[in-house]
Every structure is written in structure tokens, then in C-alpha cells.
Symmetry: C2
Subunit: 338 residues, 2 copies
DNA sequence: CTGAAAGCGCTTACAG
DNA sequence: CTGAAAGCGCTTACAG
């Protein structure tokens, strides 16, 4: 194979030092004189030398690579999460390997095997769930696992999640306090742990309060589904006047259906609460009252753990973060909130 | 360093073959008997062996890594581009290294040096522009460069771009045909090549037709800027009745300002055209008439080139794709369109 | 088809 | 502080 790029030997020759000296110069804290380092940097500069991280990764226990595994990465919430994670990772001197899955467990496993192939220091799983045996293979390879909004743990991993059920309860209480009489839950059939948590919290609060709920669940978690959900809900004889949507995308669809297809006034005739606090929730056409996912907080927790955790061991950690309610314009005003 | 994972030697021992045989078994088309390969796969399976791509990349001329370099990756258009690129890359057996920049040339250069460190097969640049000298360093390292919507070429690279100016001209013609009398151009101050192209096309068409234009340019390319732009434009005594926004995000803001802050009817009193065809443009609150960026086409062109191009040479290629107009509801209907 | 050997570019004890 | 040497896990001529 043709030698393709300048290597440490070239730099060593030009600087008149050994290969080891070159290596040390690029290793923070290594024992090398300031003079030698200066000569090396000088030579590296003129030759355009960059340490080969592939070779370095072969020897050190770290490659600096972290796999980000997610489905539907162009969705507003997901791309926010990805952007925050990538930024934090870069600040910590790591680089993100982005692997797009289709949310099936098979494709998550494929992604994880890829990650192992590249000996990533860690993998952040945002969609699907790796089998326990595969998680153990990762662990054995010294790879850390970060599970975001997943419903199970895996040995040696950190699980970061929101208190989705609590948010669901709060959504119920809020709609009741706003004076809504006919409550509905609008959700997708994706069946992710996050969605399930929100649904359960909302339902549990309703059942405890002894109020009946209309539950509508359709297709995937998208704006289009929201539109369908809204259309279906608003056409009912006992049309709901308060809807908790498990996602902002769904909520935007529900709002558009209610307003444009039925001409209902929000929040006068209909109150809507979403979840995620995506950019679009702030847009004037929506001004959606919703719950903010602490995206930055999740990214911080993940990267801090990667930086500080000692060798991964069998025990798993779970971190639970609260979702904070953001008051905007889609819930009828009432006294005493907050 | 502690041996961290199972390697080819382990598999060879278990299968009773040489390391070379293991290597060949995992190389499509290598000369190895079906029998040997079967034994190897069997052993690899029980040991949970994954070829180490870092070591492989050290030897082969390809690492399978492709760097994706972009700013504001959580923006709708950008995340669509990223998703398409990542998907195509995965189909081609590559994996994406995602590097988030702040659009300054310095941070693009930092990103490119990272890419060199990991010996990526290619780098796809979507923001900023690498200096010619750095581009040459990439080329020397056998790294291909894909420039998306950039205004210059670089030796040995492919540049993929849209005919932005033509779209700008078409936007002008469309607004005129719709009967708009007071035309405006609404854009940001980001000054990217794409924006500049659209602005120039629109302005050139106006000047050729001898019509005066109101030009408004503010801040960054965001919904908020669109809101400001719309507010500013609608407050003018000679309020425009036809606005070309260089981006959908801007257009959504302009629409919301016009409708919610001034109560104008779209398209009756105001026609608006955007650019990008992001998801939100399809939402019922907007139903924006816009130009579709051929995101899939761009991703295809990039990955095809990476797959088929022989060794990068000095010559650069430019591919220009058309932006297709998508008729929706924000331009006043008129005869003879299309 | 198969294996022993050389080599990719690095880092890190080891000895000085 | 410094260099020679061993070794990380792989692939690929080379010879059989």
C-alpha cells in the first residue's frame, strides 16, 4: 500500500529526535523537554502532520470516538438532542459517530456492532434496546453504554430518563384546573418508553380522580398523526375540551386540525398541552403550553458520566430528570398556577 | 495495556487456522475455502468477535469513516440533509463522523484536522470553507472533499449545489404573475453562498423587469428573524404584497407576523414564497409555496461520487441540481402556472 | 487455498 | 529527559 500521509517518523527525522519524542510531544503531561516539544511542533507544522488517532486508539484504551445511535434523526426533538450531545462531546475532546437506525432492535444491534468495530469509548442509545447479551459484549470490550429514555437498565450502563409519569399527572391536573370537562389523551402507537410513561401518568391521575378519559392512539409520532388525531377527536359528539398530547409534533397537528378544519378557538373552546418544547412550540401559530425536555441537562449528565466514571462495572446507574412545564397560550388561563 | 477485546488470534486458535485465514474470511472476495470460512465464522460467533476497523484502517487505504461537517445541525433543513447523508453512507457501508462547527472558517479547519486524525475517507463540508492549503493537505492524505452549497471549488473535490439564482428568478416571475405590485426580498445577514444566490437571482430579475424592490435583511437565518422581518415589512407605508423569503424558516416567521400581528389575509392580501421545503412548510398553519431542495438527490450525488470516483486528482467537479417549485397556499392563484 | 512474516503508525515500559 | 524495542490488531504480498 502506498504510504499515504506524513507520519511520526517523518516529523522525528525533520526535528532530529526519536519517534518516541514525537509521540510524547503530542501527549499532554508526557515527560518531554519544552525545547524538544518546540522542535517537534515546528516540524509537524511544516509537514502538516496530524497524529493518527486510529493507530493511537489501537494502543490506548480510548479512541475518542462515541457512537450516537438513534432513529428519525431529522425530527425536531431528536435533532436537538443530537446537537446537544455532539456539542458536549466535542467540548470533552470526543467525536461523535452517528448511526441512524430504524428503531427495530435488530438495527440497534447492528449499530452497536459497528460501534464495537470502531472501538468507540461509549455508545449512546436513544432508540430501541440492545439485548442483555450484546450489552455485556460491549461491557467486556470496555465500552460504556448510555441509555436515554429507555425503560430497562443494562449492566455497567447509565440510564438517563425523565419523570414522564409525573409530567402526565401534572398535565391532567392542569387541564382540570383550567376547567376542562371532557379530557382526552392523544398519542401515537410507537410505544416508546417515554410515551408510555406520559400516558400512564395521565391515565393514573384521571382514574384516581374518577374522571373518564377519551384515549386516541394512531400510527407514528408525527405531525400528520396529530392532524388525524385532532380530526378524529374533534368530530366526536362528546368532543373533548382538553387534550394532552404526548408529543409537541402531535400537539401541533391536533391544534391545526381543531383550528383550521373545525374552526375551534384555542384556548377558549379547547386546551392543549404538548411535550418536548421543540422550537415550533414557540412559534406564534402555536404558542404551545408544553413540558420542556432538559436536553442540555441530559447531554451534560451523559458526558459527565463518560468523563468521570471509573471502569465500567456490573452495577447500573439511573438518573431521573424532571420535565418542566412551560406556560404559553394553549391552556385556558386560571388562577393559582405556580 | 490490558487486552481489552477478543482478537483475530483468539478466533484463529479456536478455529484451528492461521490469523491470515481469519482476516481473509472477513474480506469479501478473498481467497479462502468455504470450509475454512465456516469454521472461522463459527468461532467468531461463539467468541463475539468483531473485526477491529481501527487496525484495518491502518493498513487498507479506506477506513469506512466519512466526516460530516456542519453548523446548526438541529435546524430543519440541516437535519434533513444530515439524515439523508447518513442513511446513504450507511447503505454504502460507511459510517458518519459528525462534527458540529460554528460556521467560522477556523472551526471548519479544526473539524477537517479532526477528520484527518481519524483518516476519514472523505469529508462533507456543509458550512464554512476550508482554506485551499488545508484542502490540499486533505487531498495529499487521500481524503476526498465534498462541498455542498459552497461558492468555490477545491482541487480534487466535488461541489454539489443548487441553481439558487434560477430559483430567485422564478420566485420573482411567480409573484409578478400572481399580480403582486409591491415586491420585497426578505433575507438574513448570514451571507451564505446559497442565500446570496437566491438574492441575486431575485434582484437581477427585478432589475431586468425594471421593478423596484424592498430589500430587508436582518440577523441570523431563523424563525425569529422571519418574525422581525415580517413585522418590519408589514409596518411600512408601502407595505409589500409579495415577499420572497430566502428560507422557509424566515417565511414562517414572516407569515406569522403578517397574520397574527397585522391580521393580513394570505394569499389574498399577501403572497409569500419560501425556500427549502422543510416539514413545517407542509403544516396546515403555513401551507407554504416554496422551492424543494433535492436533499436526497444531493446525498445520492455525494455518495455515488465517493463510491465511484477513482483516485482524487487535481481537477474539481461541479454538479448543479435544480430546485423545484412546490405549489401550496401562500401565493395568490393565477392562470397558467406550470 | 494456506501460513509465516513484514509492516501500517502509534505508545509505553525499560534502561540509560 | 531520551531512544531502542516491543507490541496493539490487522492485512497482504510471498512462497508453498
Amino acid at each position: 500500500m502506498a504510504r499515504t500521509s506524513v507520519n511520526a517518523k517523518d516529523v522525528a527525522d525533520l526535528a532530529g529526535v526519536s519517534r518516541a519524542a514525537v509521540s510524547r510531544s503530542f501527549t499532554p503531561g508526557a515527560s518531554v523537554s519544552a525545547e524538544t516539544r518546540a522542535k517537534v511542533f515546528q516540524a509537524a507544522e511544516t509537514l502538516g502532520y496530524q497524529v493518527n488517532h486510529l493507530a493511537r486508539g489501537l494502543i490506548r484504551s480510548e479512541t475518542g470516538l462515541v457512537a450516537l445511535i438513534a432513529a428519525e434523526i431529522n425530527t425536531p426533538y431528536r435533532s436537538n438532542m443530537l446537537a446537544a450531545l455532539t456539542a458536549r462531546l466535542q467540548e470533552a475532546g470526543k467525536v461523535a459517530l452517528l448511526i441512524n437506525t430504524d428503531r427495530s432492535d435488530a438495527s440497534v444491534e447492528r449499530a452497536l456492532r459497528q460501534a464495537i468495530s470502531y472501538r468507540t469509548d461509549a455508545a449512546v442509545v436513544m432508540s430501541g434496546m440492545p439485548a442483555r447479551s450484546l450489552a455485556e459484549t460491549c461491557l467486556r470490550n470496555g465500552m460504556r453504554l448510555v441509555l436515554i429514555n429507555r425503560d430497562e437498565e443494562r449492566p455497567g450502563s447509565i440510564r438517563i430518563q425523565l419523570d414522564d409519569a409525573e409530567a402526565g399527572r401534572q398535565a391532567f391536573a392542569t387541564l382540570v384546573a383550567a376547567g376542562c370537562k371532557r379530557l382526552a389523551l392523544a398519542t401515537s402507537q410507537a410505544g416508546t418508553p417515554s410515551l408510555a410513561g406520559r400516558e400512564e401518568g395521565f391515565k393514573a391521575a384521571a382514574s384516581e380522580a374518577g374522571v373518564d378519559l377519551t384515549v386516541a392512539a394512531l400510527g407514528m409520532t408525527s405531525y400528520q398523526t396529530g392532524l388525524d388525531l385532532g380530526t378524529q377527536l374533534m368530530a366526536r359528539p362528546d368532543r373533548p375540551d382538553g387534550v394532552f398530547c404526548t408529543t409537541d409534533l402531535l400537539a401541533c397537528g391536533v391544534l391545526d386540525a381543531a383550528r383550521h378544519r373545525f374552526g375551534f378557538q384555542v384556548p377558549h373552546e379547547l386546551s392543549v398541552i404538548g411535550f418536548d418544547d421543540i422550537e415550533e412550540a414557540r412559534w406564534e401559530s402555536y404558542a404551545l403550553t408544553t413540558f420542556a425536555q432538559p436536553v442540555e441537562g441530559i447531554a451534560d449528565a451523559a458526558v459527565d458520566w463518560l468523563k468521570h466514571a471509573e471502569d465500567p462495572k456490573e452495577s447500573a446507574t439511573t438518573v431521573s430528570l424532571p420535565a418542566r412545564m412551560i406556560w404559553r397560550g394553549t391552556v385556558r388561563p386560571f388562577r393559582n398556577h405556580d
